[in-house]
């Protein structure tokens, strides 16, 4: 019944080091084109935190070929869906558009791989936008508690700082520093081109060659090699910032995404904190301790975190929310998960994998994302690897990674509330009560 609309993924590397992934998907007369650079906040250092993100903003400010505002205007005029994103390990740019416009997307991306002008005046003007993003982050309790968690759980590794950067760095970075960073990291041998959709593989590859093969490779900065020391004891913080909610977070360092234990940890994350059937939801939300509770295994190129987060219900203390949360995590170590839970998690993974194939945009995003962080093949092998996970595997990774001495626990506890609960806790929630 299923008609083949998806070809195999075709992979090649051009002479200049540019990795190219092409997948023909004949679902709609649409193609998604993306360039992923292997650079993110992991490549920054003290003094220039946030520079990857700042550079991403400046990449829309033009080249000699496309003047100020022209990239966005040109893409808008043909109805392209386009954007960019910066994270720990990558910076990506994409355009999803009618397949007869693919050439334009390639022209724009090959041009700004090397020709972005990054004018000083535009940098100054863009700081208004970046500042408002910083301010929004600072006002957001969730962002606040995540930032504090990363800064506490990572002491040596660059995952220590937020992708948006420390404010003083972001304010002090010069235009010249952004240009230098751009020249150092944006090169074909540090990039992946992804083409997914209504294209002919040979023809698409020819066009990629046309636009990108002439860009010379360059010598890249040294790879990030810092590894975080094992954590030998619980770390805690209490964030006393204004806010209208109270949060509890707990985090444990996980292995890098490419590590074989990632699959069992993904299953663990789903069972612990995904959906209304999850253990945290039942133990915290159903019981009225919290209004929301989630958990997930957040993987990255280097070891990152398994994170559990709960929003305390009014009049419930952060201490009791924390105790209930940690109790659920301890149970994962002491008793095996049930067959029902395991079956549910596996079905969710399998279904999610198939859903992502419905949309060329999401498929393209996944290919680029996994190629940057592990390998695009990780995506293909994922369902089978998840199917192989057993209850014993989940218990084993819970014991290996989620032990008490390896955890970071934090409270977001606004000054006008009382973390130990009682009536004062109520007053802290959204604009008093009636």
């Amino acid at each position: 019944m299923i008609q083949a609309a998806h070809s195999e993924v075709f992979e090649t590397t051009l002479e200049n080091g540019l990795k190219v992934l092409i997948q023909e998907v004949r679902l709609a007369p649409v193609v998604s084109f993306a360039v992923w650079y292997r650079v993110g906040s992991r490549n920054e250092s003290a003094g220039i935190t946030g520079i990857s993100h700042l550079l991403e903003h400046m990449m829309f400010k033009g080249t000699p070929r496309f003047g100020k505002g022209e990239i966005a205007r040109t893409l808008q005029r043909i109805g392209a869906s386009f954007n960019a994103g910066t994270s720990l390990d990558y910076t990506c740019y994409y355009e999803t558009l009618k397949s007869d416009q693919l050439e334009l997307a390639m022209e724009i991306e090959s041009d700004r791989m090397v020709n972005a002008t990054i004018p000083e005046e535009e940098h100054r003007l863009e700081m208004t936008v970046v500042r408002s993003e910083l301010e929004r982050n600072e006002d957001n309790p969730h962002r606040g508690i995540y930032q504090e968690t990363f800064a506490t759980a990572f002491q040596a590794h660059p995952y220590h700082w937020p992708t948006i950067g420390w404010r003083s760095d972001v304010e002090a970075i010069t235009t010249e520093q952004i240009r230098r960073y751009y020249r150092a990291h944006y090169a074909p041998n540090n990039a992946i081109v992804v083409v997914v959709g209504d294209v002919d593989r040979e023809e698409a590859l020819k066009r990629v060659r046309h636009w990108f093969a002439g860009i010379p490779s360059s010598e890249l900065p040294l790879a990030v090699t810092t590894t975080e020391r094992p954590q030998q004891g619980e770390r805690r913080f209490r964030l006393r910032k204004p806010g209208d909610i109270r949060l509890v977070i707990a985090a444990w360092r996980n292995p890098a995404m490419a590590h074989p234990d990632s699959h069992a940890l993904d299953v663990l994350g789903l069972i612990l904190g995904h959906g209304r059937t999850s253990r945290l939801h039942r133990a915290l939300v159903e019981t009225g301790l919290a209004t929301e509770a989630d958990a997930a295994n957040e993987s990255a190129r280097d070891p990152f975190l398994v994170i559990a987060l709960a929003t305390a219900a009014p009049e419930r203390s952060l201490a009791e929310v924390e105790a209930a949360m940690l109790h659920e995590v301890a149970r994962l170590r002491t008793e095996p998960i049930t067959e029902v839970e395991l079956r549910r998690a596996k079905k969710q993974v399998e279904a999610g994998f198939l859903y992502s194939k419905d949309s060329i945009q999401s498929l393209s995003h996944q290919l680029g994302y996994y190629e940057t962080i592990a390998s695009w093949r990780y995506l293909e092998e994922y369902p089978a690897a998840i199917r192989a996970v057993t209850a014993a595997d989940v218990q084993r990774v819970a014991t290996t990674y989620l032990h008490d001495d390896a955890r970071t626990v934090g409270w977001f506890d606004p000054p006008d509330s009382d973390g130990d609960g009682g009536a004062a806790g109520t007053a802290a929630t959204a604009g008093g009560d009636a």
């Binding site: 019944m1 609309a5 709609a28 808008q76 043909i78 109805g79 558009l97 159903e286 859903y355």
Partner: protein, 432 residues
């Protein structure tokens, strides 16, 4: 237009409408559906205007929190066990239904959806949970400058008693007043098979779809009497009206200017939509953005938008700004409204709008959910089964003159409502 071989329209004997699009490339199905049971009916049986605002959304939020056969947790596991999703959301005119599933689970998801739509029991504990959540939403909205400005503008633009006078979220007073009886009655009266449309796109055939939907919904009987699904047009404001809501201590001020808008079914809809695109719909390259943000640096963002439905929602212009720039912002917005009203768009702007609209259309239809949403609105607004094929020609055929006329008709520089909210001296509503 898209990868679908065909779309089939089917009707059950009880009036439920079914739209099926086949896409056999992947074993998944996306459902986008609706029940004509939105906020327009909130106060149909209320003792006083506005006394039950929020009732439709309240009812929709409770559908999957307990039925005759499943409690909340059983409902959640039924969906989560099969890796599917199912959501209901009460909007101004309709309750939307969104679901994703593997093709093998079509029957299961339809049975759960039918259970939620037909047999909810509205447990008191769940009602109170939702009430607390919604009260919190209202408090948050009333503390946020952008939503305060939009809410007050709606109240000025639509007269008391009009279905769009108040937000679909209700007010603190109406949310407190809604009782279980109101919800039960609302559900009994408004949830009926002939008020339901389901668009299903993915790995299924019309025959399979019809059988599955009949199994789940076939025995649902339609009550006698017509649905009465309409929203009256609001009169244009007699003059320009202005109000300032003082909200001390806020760093941002918000400006909302609103005009009576256009229904999706109106013959001049495409022209109005293009006027909106030129004025403030074109994200970074609209007239408002280029003037207020790029040339003057007055705002973080400024947008215009239509809320077209079966009724004519407001034609809004919204801007967020520093309070010291708020009045300059108003002057510049008005200048842009007047300019488009007087002169219409340029040929270049027409080309840009047409390029965008014809280009983005297939991009929006690239996934099953996008196709389902499109097919659903084609049915709801009577756009015709061949709308997908006609779309490009339809857009290409809109003339500069038609858009200029639409701008003259809708963007009336002397008849509008204007609300500012932020750290500014308050002003009661008054004519200007």
């Amino acid at each position: 237009m898209s990868h679908m071989t065909r779309t089939t329209r089917l009707t059950l004997p009880n009036g439920l409408i079914l739209l099926v699009g086949e896409n056999h490339s992947n074993p998944t199905i996306s459902i986008q559906g609706l029940v004509k049971a939105g906020a327009l009916y909130d106060n149909a049986d209320a003792a006083a205007p506005g006394a039950r605002s929020g009732l439709a959304r309240f009812t929709a939020s409770l559908l999957d929190l307990g039925t005759e056969t499943r409690d909340e947790l059983a409902m959640a596991s039924a969906i989560e066990d099969i890796g599917a999703s199912l959501h209901f959301d009460g909007g101004s005119e309709t309750v939307s239904i969104r679901a994703t599933m593997l093709a093998e689970d079509l029957d299961a998801v339809l049975e759960i959806a039918a259970d939620a739509l037909r047999r909810p029991i509205f447990p008191v504990a769940q009602i109170e949970k939702i009430r607390a959540e919604f009260l919190n939403d209202v408090r948050e909205a009333e503390a946020t400058t952008s939503s305060v400005a939009a809410r007050r503008a709606g109240e000025l633009l639509f007269p008391v008693g009009h279905p769009l006078h108040e937000s679909r979220g209700g007010t603190e007073a109406s949310l407190r007043a809604i009782g279980r009886d109101d919800i039960v009655k609302f559900h009994r009266k408004r949830y009926r098979p002939d008020a339901v449309i389901l668009a299903m796109v993915g790995d299924l055939t019309p025959d399979q779809a019809l059988k599955a939907v009949t199994r789940a919904f076939g025995e649902w009987a339609a009550p006698a009497g017509p649905l009465g699904f309409e929203i009256p047009a609001a009169p244009a404001p007699a003059s320009a009206m202005r109000r300032v809501v003082g909200m001390p201590g806020r760093s941002q001020a918000d400006v909302v200017m609103a005009f009576p808008g256009v229904a999706r079914t109106a013959p001049d809809y495409d022209a109005v939509m293009m006027a909106n695109y030129v004025l403030g719909g074109a994200s970074l390259s609209s007239r408002l953005m280029e003037n207020l943000r790029d040339a003057q640096g007055l705002v973080y963002g400024v947008y215009s938008m239509l809320h077209p439905g079966v009724g004519a929602g407001p034609f809004q212009i919204r801007a967020g700004t520093n309070p010291t720039n708020a009045e300059r912002c108003v002057v510049s917005i008005l200048a842009e409204v007047r300019r488009l009203h007087d002169d219409g768009p340029t040929d270049e702007e027409m080309d840009a709008a047409k390029g965008y609209l014809t280009g983005v259309f297939p991009v929006r239809l690239e996934a099953n959910s996008g196709v389902a949403a499109q097919v659903l609105s084609m049915e709801l607004y009577g756009l015709g089964a061949d709308y997908l094929e006609r779309y490009e020609a339809l857009i290409r055929g809109v003339t500069r003159k038609a858009v200029a006329e639409a701008a003259r008709r809708y963007l009336t520089p002397d008849h509008y409502v204007l609300v500012l909210a932020g750290d500014l001296p308050a002003e009661e509503a008054h004519a200007v």
